[in-house]
């Protein structure tokens, strides 16, 4: 139910995530597996907390802010990326005003917005401080099949290629229509041919990339090497983080 983002926005998102993954901080150095487990626990904790438990949300907000500070990720950047989710969830939040007294409804509304912000932000922070390769290594260590991880990586890497092509095709469509169709979407006369052309053109690009990879010695089994697991210290840090997240004062 989330709102679709613009093409350029998605490209900026990918660049932003990649840029952040190369920063150096204590959170960046934590093993990806530990970070994935902590993120899962955090999301489950937020989802399981009733909307009226404002102090728990406050504690989780403080934890998130601390993590963002340590990982040197700007809050404004995260807010921009969580905005579409917040808009959609506001619709659900408004429904409380029809069912509860105004004061309770207000707290519930704030609760659901904070809930969405916390879940989306923590996951984005985790991914931004890990990167696609780190996420892949973390999943590999969690015994997710190699083929699926490879597919995840390929899909992610091909995204730039496809987004670039969609952007070029959309721009040429708008220019050809002399500016009449800007902001209206693709007209029905081009529905089939637009998607069809996108598919065939991008398949051709992908084939060339695949052949180039094969020429450079790419092979499924040789691509993903066995990764080292978390150290004892990293496990201890992870366990402590989980305790802090789960225990309410």
């Amino acid at each position: 139910m989330n709102e679709r983002k613009s093409l350029l926005q998605s490209m900026f998102d990918m660049k932003w995530l990649e840029d952040n993954a190369y920063k150096k901080s204590a959170i960046h150095q934590l093993h990806p597996t530990v970070k994935i487990i902590i993120a899962m626990v955090f999301v489950i904790k937020v989802a399981a907390t009733p909307l009226s438990y404002m102090f728990v949300y406050l504690k989780l907000l403080l934890l998130l802010s601390l993590c963002l500070y340590v990982a040197r990720i700007r809050v404004t950047e995260l807010l921009k990326r969580t905005a579409p989710g917040l808009v959609i969830v506001s619709f659900f939040g408004i429904s409380y005003f029809f069912s509860y007294p105004i004061q309770s409804a207000f707290f519930l509304f704030v609760g659901v917005v904070v809930k969405v912000y916390l879940t989306i932000s923590f996951v984005l922070m985790t991914v931004a401080s890990t990167g696609i390769d780190g996420i892949s290594n973390g999943l590999l260590w969690l015994k997710i099949p190699r083929l699926l991880i490879l597919q995840l990586q390929l899909t992610y890497r091909y995204l730039g290629l496809f987004v670039d092509r969609v952007n070029a095709m959309s721009l040429s469509y708008k220019l050809r229509s002399n500016g009449n169709k800007i902001g209206q979407g693709i007209g029905r006369e081009a529905w089939g041919s637009f998607v069809g052309h996108l598919f065939l053109g991008a398949m051709e690009d992908a084939r060339m990339i695949q052949q180039a990879m094969a020429l450079r010695g790419f092979h499924l089994n040789s691509h993903l090497q066995k990764v080292a697991g978390p150290t004892k210290l990293q496990w201890i840090i992870g366990m402590c983080s989980i305790v802090v997240i789960l225990v309410d004062l």
Binding site: A39, V123, L152, L161, G185, M203
Partner: protein, 329 residues
């Protein structure tokens, strides 16, 4: 149609995770092992394609709004259901992790609503049986395929949105009543499903025309013939039956000629000796031999003569065309 983490309770999210992952293990084991490398890279490309296709906004006619496709059915038709399910999972995972679209707790629920329903329910239970049905009778046409794809997309999206409503309701995260929520979600997804279905159908037709080898399970598409047995029978039936309710009054030209005292004279001197079914009547000599009413028979004879003439001309035209093409060679 992506659900977010905050709207799913851990119990519902966890259950959906378990269900979606089990289906994922089943799909993974069903992948053809001998051509895994080619298939995996193809799935990667298709996943990115669906992700990009979801970003294209299509104008919905008459509404001023625009919508996008979710791509489950498109993937199933291009990759097959098992590979499509896994690809859809990877797309949803990337959207949840990198683009704040969906969520990791809601990942299972989204995978079920947007992947499982289309790939493991709609594709094998609606799309394939209907395609097989028409294919066995050699009556599959491009139009029928488009209608089947559109209907499949609409049903798939209706069940998907139904899943969203029930999962949100079971999670107790909204105070909207079930009926109100259903009333809001289902009609809007009917319109979106229609647009998705048409786009998918047109895209598949385009791909079939230009590179049919990229479609997972191809069906031979027959061209619609301009004339067929049903059409001829229908025409003869109209001529034989509707002639009984035809007006016996003269048509406009005859009426005008009668006024100038021309028709009677011309009928007796020119038309009557030449036409063997003059004034749509069987000649008196033959009519005496046949004991029944012959009004309908005249219509059938007339249509048959027209069909025969058309058939002969068509044959002559085709022969001439063939001769012309042979000369060029």
């Amino acid at each position: 149609m992506h659900m977010v983490d905050a709207l799913v309770s851990p119990v519902v999210g966890g259950t959906m995770w378990a269900a979606a992952s089990s289906a994922g293990v089943f799909a993974f084991n069903k992948l053809p092992k001998e051509e895994t490398e080619r298939k995996i890279s193809e799935m990667g490309v298709m996943g990115a394609f669906v992700f990009a296709a979801q970003m294209i906004n299509f104008a919905i006619p008459g509404t001023g709004a625009s919508g996008h496709i979710s791509g489950g059915l498109l993937l199933s038709i291009l990759l097959g259901p098992t590979a499509a399910y896994l690809t859809m999972g990877m797309v949803l995972l990337i959207q949840a992790l990198f683009f704040a679209d969906g969520g990791i707790l809601a990942f299972g629920a989204n995978w079920i609503n947007m992947g499982f329903i289309t790939c493991f329910a709609i594709y094998p239970l609606i799309y394939r049986p209907l395609m097989n049905y028409f294919n066995k009778r050699n009556t599959m046409t491009g139009t029928k395929e488009k209608v089947i794809i559109t209907c499949s997309a609409i049903i798939g999206l209706q069940f998907g949105s139904l899943g969203v409503v029930f999962m949100t309701y079971l999670s107790h995260t909204t105070s909207i009543s079930l009926i109100t929520f259903l009333g809001f979600m289902q009609p809007i997804h009917l319109a979106i499903g229609l647009v998705e279905g048409i786009i998918t159908a047109l895209a598949i037709a385009f791909i079939r025309q230009h590179e049919p080898g990229l479609i997972y399970c191809t069906y031979p598409i027959h061209r619609q013939k301009p004339t067929n047995k049903k059409m001829i029978t229908f025409t003869l039936a109209i001529a034989g039956i509707l002639v009984y309710i035809a007006s016996s009054n003269p048509d406009g030209l005859e009426w005008a000629l009668e006024k100038i005292q021309f028709a009677q004279a011309s009928y007796h001197t020119i038309q009557s000796p030449l036409a063997f079914l003059s004034d749509y009547q069987i000649p008196e000599k033959i009519e005496k031999v046949i004991p029944v009413d012959t009004t309908g028979l005249v219509g059938v004879i007339g249509v048959s003569i027209m069909l025969a003439i058309g058939f002969v001309f068509n044959k002559l035209y085709l022969r001439r065309q063939n001769d012309g093409s042979n000369d060029h060679e």
